[in-house]
Symmetry: C2
Subunit: 193 residues, 2 copies
Amino acid sequence: MSIDQLHTTLERLCNLLRVEAREHGAGNGLLPVQLEALHYLGECNRYSDSVQGVSEYLGQTKGTVSQTLKVLEKRGLVKKLPDSNDRRIVHLQTTAAGRKTLDKVVPALFLIEALKSTSEAKIGQLTEDLKEVLRAAQQARGAKSFGACITCRFNESVEGAFQCGLTGEKLTPKDTVKICREHLFPDVDCKVS
Amino acid sequence: MSIDQLHTTLERLCNLLRVEAREHGAGNGLLPVQLEALHYLGECNRYSDSVQGVSEYLGQTKGTVSQTLKVLEKRGLVKKLPDSNDRRIVHLQTTAAGRKTLDKVVPALFLIEALKSTSEAKIGQLTEDLKEVLRAAQQARGAKSFGACITCRFNESVEGAFQCGLTGEKLTPKDTVKICREHLFPDVDCKVS
DNA sequence: CTTATATGTTTCGTGTCGAAACTATATTGA
DNA sequence: TCAATATAGTTTCGACACGAAACATATAAG
């Protein structure tokens, strides 16, 4: 069956990503899962940069994630900031060192090399197709979509400015391309708590 | 950059595969990496079903793989057979129970669900595109290609029958679709030792 | 005000993973 | 021919991811 081959190919690409992350991370004293957490923190917005957010994204327990983040903090790659409204919440921001590490690791060298002679259009098309699969996959698993605000049903555009309909806060253009744990696509059944 | 998004999307799909493998494996008392090894053994040919083969495929050391396979054997999912010519080599064959376990796990349920309303043609196109990326990625990493004999430069077709030019052995039609650790694409520089 | 819920941490047991030492068999080459 | 070398695989050990569960604290609900 065709899906079988798709699964196998994806699984194999996964493996290469992990092996490269392991090799590359070893140079920085980091493990694959720690790089993934750092990657997430580098792309998520201020509603999502918490232990809980990372936990949901990686599909691991809070306890496990807590330890992962402790390592990242000790390495000086992320910085903990208390939330101003809710004192239970801790925000995790990537530091300059963290972003520098990320730049070295993503996108993976082998991907750049592999796509060297592939047209920009082709890469774009493949990316869009994969994103569509991911969107459907996350829905199928009941997982959150972790999309950018710009594609979110809660995003409201008023007089050229953006605003989150869930929190009521204003969003800068930069904000709207970051990923959010409350993200919902417009066409998906509403599941807000 | 576009490759950046491709990397992120792939990494996220990876995660879903692993999380699902963890959940599903837990039911069978197996871990993601053990399922991957079983998956490989279910699809590779008789030149590749060894500890060394799994080690190359998963990018892990022989020692680690040796332990992984010990678990699979203890669970009755694979069976060890000595090689008839070289007594150093152990062949690992999936048992009926192993194949039954595989059928439940691959393709992943969420992939089937996610692609339910996608056309066969679209899935096929995406699979081919990903395979092409994988091929280039493996070459970029200097990793083996693990392709099917039918696409291998060593495969020789004589009077409708197939034969491996490397070992000189005859290949049945079933053999030619299994993946091989000696596989090389026709257009790649020769690196046979 | 009491109970329930949510965020995050710590502890502990299981088990992956790589490194390295080891056994056994096969190959090479002088 | 036989010693040196290479290859397949196992075992041992230490580091550490990971989940489960107990815990601390803060907010929400009734």
